[in-house]
Amino acid sequence: MSPQDTLRQEILEKVSAFHTSRTAAPSDFRPGQDQVHYAGRVHDADELQTLVDASLDFWLTAGRFTDEFESGLGEFLGIDNVLTANSGSSANLVAFSTLTSPKLGERRIRPGDEVITVAAGFPTTVNPIIQNGAIPVFVDVQLGTYTPTLQAIEAAIGPQTKAVMMAHTMGVPFELSELRELCDRHQLWLVEDNCDALGSRYAGQYTGTFGHLSTVSFYPAHHITMGEGGAVMTNDDELARIARSFRDWGRDCYCSGGENNTCGKRFSQQLGALPYGYDHKYVYSHIGYNLKITDMQAAIGCAQLRKLPQFIEARQRNHARLAAGLARHAGQLILHTAPAQAEPSWFGYVITVRPESGLTRAQLVGALEGARIETRNLFCGNLLRHPAYQDITHRVVGSLANTDLITTHTFFIGVYPGLTDPMIDHILSVFDQVLG
């Protein structure tokens, strides 16, 4: 072992000791006094060590940990191409922009083309559609699953429709096999916003592997985290190359940071109207962005990825406990459900207060927050009611009655792996106190 390796090993051991000293004596949960978070980062010394390990490399931009993370996540999900990005929202932007590439010929999405989506979700699922000049077409969702029916999507398909781009809201897969079949029949692109659903399955297959493109988020509230981070995923090599170009400034060259001439044609190509042999490193085939991650982020992701199976299991276990405890309140609450073939890796437990119950969301949320239990609205509710979206060009097919009801009556609580049984007992006891 070289002196440098020895020093590195000593530093990493100290990091582990530091972590142990910080977490040596976890205190017992005190109901009503300690905060029950809806989400949060869950980690041990492994994350701190890999982060410091990457820092000692001082490679900084995407490097060995990024390679390891991308191939590891791809292997876990069974998907060929994983391209990290600096957030799930960036991943959505890259995924959608990919479909606007001139390299896709007639199938490219152009300004004025329509994309089917939902208004009850997170804005950055819809924003790339608008930012690229396409027109979002909104369909309503079902209460309980918070995903649209296949029939609603089919009814929204028109002559200008080019794609469907939606999220598996709160980890609940929409009917993926059937939707992919529908998209193929109509020659539509399918983009799965899988940011809330890493580890969910539909018909035994992981979400994020059905669509032409999919995305995932590694924000701390999500299934695994690297602080800020996300990824675009695809089984289509051509889409992967385009996505990489959009992510990396729009350049045609695919060399990683610190590499030169991996294509072997750096100075011998004729591209665009440039002089023959113009340095390929600075040739741009798309009007792109720089949305890459650092290797320190990926290092944390590598350690988190090792925990993903247990995180998924914990989310499913916590959700099941809440579902069992809340079942007795089904007369007053619409409980969280999933399609028959779905096996969600839940993001949270979503609850809609039945309008006929005589209760309000504010009453229930107030009681929970008063007992130090964090709640969140189902993101933006009806996106079209927000100031920024008042004047966007869009189309609505059918009514958005459920979406509006979500805006006024729906919220969610956590199921993340940081929850303990005493915390869940506390949550359920507050529901029982309020609902009787």
Binding site: G63, D237, E238, A240, R244, S256, E259, R266
Partner: protein, 247 residues
């Protein structure tokens, strides 16, 4: 092109066809990205610290389909000091670093051709070996028809003739023609045409070339000569001519 990956591999097998032409079978330490026949990797013999810069390396076409996502075969000929060092020093059990896959010299449907004419000189046949390996695995071609024209200095240097013959015998739509520059005698090489690859003959038998991709792989002088003739004499557009060449 799939997302390229840097990987370490063990030299699992070395086959010395001649002192100057060797096939290496590498076994990767991790699952590799999907390779498309015609793609290449960078290979280095130097030590590589994954936390640092990629060392000096050379580019080699992959000679198999990498169907198991682990095994990569390279056929390397002695071209200069680096390949000489490779051929003289690389032994079974050695560890090497590689990265890939790269390149769009891919023989599949994405270029929009229904037919492919594959012209290979010497070890330039390797990208087409990957194509044949994949076709044998699938029992079918990814396009309607492919014809391999495979030339070498002597019949003995047509080291992948057996693979081409198996492919021609079992995969519908695939044919192969063989050429040897030096004198050919005897029944054993009856299927080998004497002389260099005959472009005029190829074009005379190619019929309508509108949906045909011409893939050229081999010595630079051969590639340049054939490309010039295809463009100037046969008026083929550049888009129909794909070359396997690096700087």
């Amino acid at each position: 092109m799939a997302q390229p990956l840097r990987f370490q591999a063990t030299v699992a097998q070395v086959t010395r066809h001649t002192p100057d032409v060797v096939t290496y079978r590498l076994y990767a330490d991790r699952r590799l990205p999907r390779f498309v026949p015609g793609q290449f990797i960078h290979l280095t013999m130097d030590a590589y610290d994954p936390a640092g810069f990629w060392p000096d390396s050379r580019v080699f076409s992959v000679a198999n389909a990498v169907a198991d996502r682990r095994t990569v075969e390279l056929t390397i000929s002695r071209q200069g000091a680096y390949t000489g060092k490779l051929l003289d020093q690389l032994q079974p059990g050695d560890q090497v670093w590689a990265k890939g896959p790269y390149g769009d010299f891919t023989i599949d449907a994405r270029h929009g051709f229904r037919r492919a004419v594959l012209i290979a000189g010497g070890t330039g046949v390797t990208p087409f070996c990957a194509f044949m390996d994949a076709a044998l695995g699938q029992g079918a071609l990814p396009l309607d028809e492919a014809v391999l024209h495979y030339g070498a200095q002597t019949p003995e240097l047509l080291i992948y003739k057996g693979l081409a013959e198996r492919c021609a015998a079992t995969v519908p739509g695939f044919r192969a023609c063989y050429y040897a520059e030096q004198r050919v005698d005897g029944a054993a090489v009856a299927s080998v045409q004497a002389g260099r690859i005959d472009l005029a003959g190829i074009m005379a038998n190619s019929g309508d070339t509108q949906d045909t991709g011409f893939y050229l792989s081999g010595p630079k002088v051969m590639i340049n000569s054939f490309r010039d003739k295809l463009v100037q004499d046969y008026r083929l557009p550049d888009e129909q001519i794909l070359i396997d060449a690096w700087e």
